[in-house]
Symmetry: C2
Subunit: 340 residues, 2 copies
DNA sequence: CCGATTGATGTTATCGATAACATAGCTTGA
DNA sequence: TCAAGCTATGTTATCGATAACATCAATCGG
């Protein structure tokens, strides 16, 4: 039993395949009566259009490629979800590649995804190899880096400066009288967003002359709650006098908080803890975590809107196109793990 | 500047396009020397094969469609991630659709995804409309339902019985002397997995004669930690004498735990709490949550393996193919929120 | 009342790769 | 020594839709 194709529908209705094609896209100029008959026959025969053939012919894949380290991170997952919903309105689908924070993998995924002829690339802005950057730049399609605001963007950006986030947290703590700060993050040499927050931390500690830079890299990203728990005793051993720990993420901060409570270290009386991401847990735990809130849904929506604008209009030559930057707020949100 | 195609490469090397095609797939029989020259020219010209054309010709899309409520749920995200990694080995990519727990959306997504001619469908086994079931059955490709073990499966299954999970928790609590149990879950009439755990709960409470059935449906899925916090006082007001709450998920259970601690309700002395999913939080909080551990990575891997088996072999007629069931363990894991 | 315009539909060529078959040169073994 | 088989490559047809152009009838305005 051969698969039904457009021509089968056309024959049964008594029109040409082209008319069926037009009836199935909403833009086609087909008489109401004809369209009705066509849709009915489509239903009867259970016809499913072959978008692969359609894409080849129209030279539009209907895909947007998304590169993310993983979607095990709820805020990231939410951005992608929101992006998918936004793009759905114009019939674009998402093709996800998981980089696992490895630039080598990102390269490989990129070459694979590009074979699908995506109409745009959205990439969570962790480190990119020169080759990846070249691939993206030469792909001839819009690129959007999200969740950071890189100094030398490839094309469009929807995000905030992770480095500034790191610095701002230090200033925030300094203003509240904390003096001996430490950073708990991930081992990584490939330029993740966490690494840039760490950089901001280090720079600001140095700028404010807050003494030695204390950075503890516990494990490769993402740091789990339990890894963070394990880190606290080691950090206290290395630097017994620290009065604040800046964590790479909320789960990490929650791990530190749990361990501190287990060890009888008072939070925030003896130790301040700051997280990042405004994960659900940060509002719900006790005391609630001081953190940095990012509107992850908005990142997805803005990215979707930006792409719809760029892909919708008449084909503007890439060379003439203007890259856009959408600033997303990163709001330092004092809660219970820092004193006022 | 036209995009480079296979024939451009072929011309430059001085062979036919077919030889280039063969050189680019590892299976082709091409002399080592020719292949080397071809790969070099491919690199020089920056040729990127067009998989859309390839798929149309070979009638193999290289896609597996995945339908999930959302990936904001880390265990689900992990299953999908593991599935993607498993399928990557054979060059299959994943096409995700987010149903948001709405069967109507699932239907729509299904019709859209089927136009991409996926080679298989993986679906998180929440409720499916009759139309969805028909679409899947008639698609002529393997279907895998995951994260549950439905009574009337569509085709293959990789999962565990959510209903049994609900029942087992009740028995577990009853054995430990708990008598007045309540269930905290989601408002839903479309047959989610959570609803089936609730069903198992209800059946077992009735079977064991544990008195009135206490079910509190707080909000549409997924229940957030804060919604769960808000639920506890209401539940205690409705049923002041309950001694255990079975929660639809770990985040939900964590919310209840937090609120109980805030209200001064002793856990597990006055109130037992059971979660589901073995989320990271359940190990890290204090006391750690009694929960049901699911090996979500394994679900992804097993699904990948199953699909590789089915898609790899010579084309077996769908009618002759045997549906498979892979059982995944759901391990009730006693921790600190229930007494022994 | 007729040329111009509009609306609905048909025809043909094409998108870029690959399946299937064809071929030419080379080896091999009885 | 030659038929049979093998290796490496070429040729042709095809996958299923859609863009672009063509056509034909109905409508309309002066």
């Amino acid at each position: 039993m051969r698969r039904i194709k457009m021509e089968d529908v056309a024959r049964k209705v008594g029109v040409s395949a082209m008319t069926v094609s037009r009836a199935l896209k909403h833009d086609g100029v087909v008489s109401a009566a004809t369209r009705r008959r066509i849709l009915q026959v489509v239903e009867e025969l259970g016809y499913v259009p072959d978008q692969i053939a359609g894409s080849l012919s129209s030279q539009r894949s209907g895909f947007v490629a998304v590169l993310a380290p993983s979607l095990n991170n709820p805020p990231l997952a939410e951005s992608v979800h929101a992006l998918a919903e936004s793009l759905e309105e114009v019939g674009l689908q998402i093709l996800i590649g998981y980089t696992n924070y490895e630039t080598k993998r990102e390269e490989r995924l990129l070459t694979e995804l590009l074979q699908r002829r995506p109409e745009a690339i959205v990439v969570v802005s962790d480190g990119h190899s020169p080759r990846s950057r070249r691939l993206m730049r030469e792909a001839g399609i819009p690129v959007v880096q999200i969740w950071d605001r890189p100094a030398r963007p490839i094309d469009n950006v929807v995000g905030f400066s992770n480095e500034d986030v790191g610095s701002n947290i230090v200033r925030f703590l300094a203003e509240r009288g904390y003096r001996r700060l430490a950073y708990l993050g991930e081992t990584n040499d490939e330029g993740t967003r966490g690494a840039r927050r760490r950089l901001g931390f280090v720079r600001e500690v140095e700028r404010l002359n807050l003494g030695p830079v204390r950075v503890h890299d516990q494990a490769p990203p993402p740091i789990t709650m339990l890894q963070a728990r394990a880190a606290l005793p080691r950090m206290l051993q290395r630097w017994p006098d620290i009065d604040a720990i800046v964590c790479v993420s909320d789960p990490c901060a929650f791990g530190v908080l749990s361990e501190a409570q287990a060890m009888g270290v008072g939070v925030p009386s003896q130790l301040a803890i700051v997280g990042f991401g405004d994960f659900e847990i940060s509002r719900c735990c006790s005391p609630p975590l001081t953190t940095v809130a990012i509107d992850s849904g908005r990142i997805g929506h803005e990215t979707g809107q930006l792409l719809k604008d760029m892909l919708g209009r008449s084909p503007v030559a890439m060379s003439k196109r203007v890259s856009r930057r959408v600033a997303i707020d990163a709001i330092l949100t004092p809660r219970g793990t820092t004193r006022s």
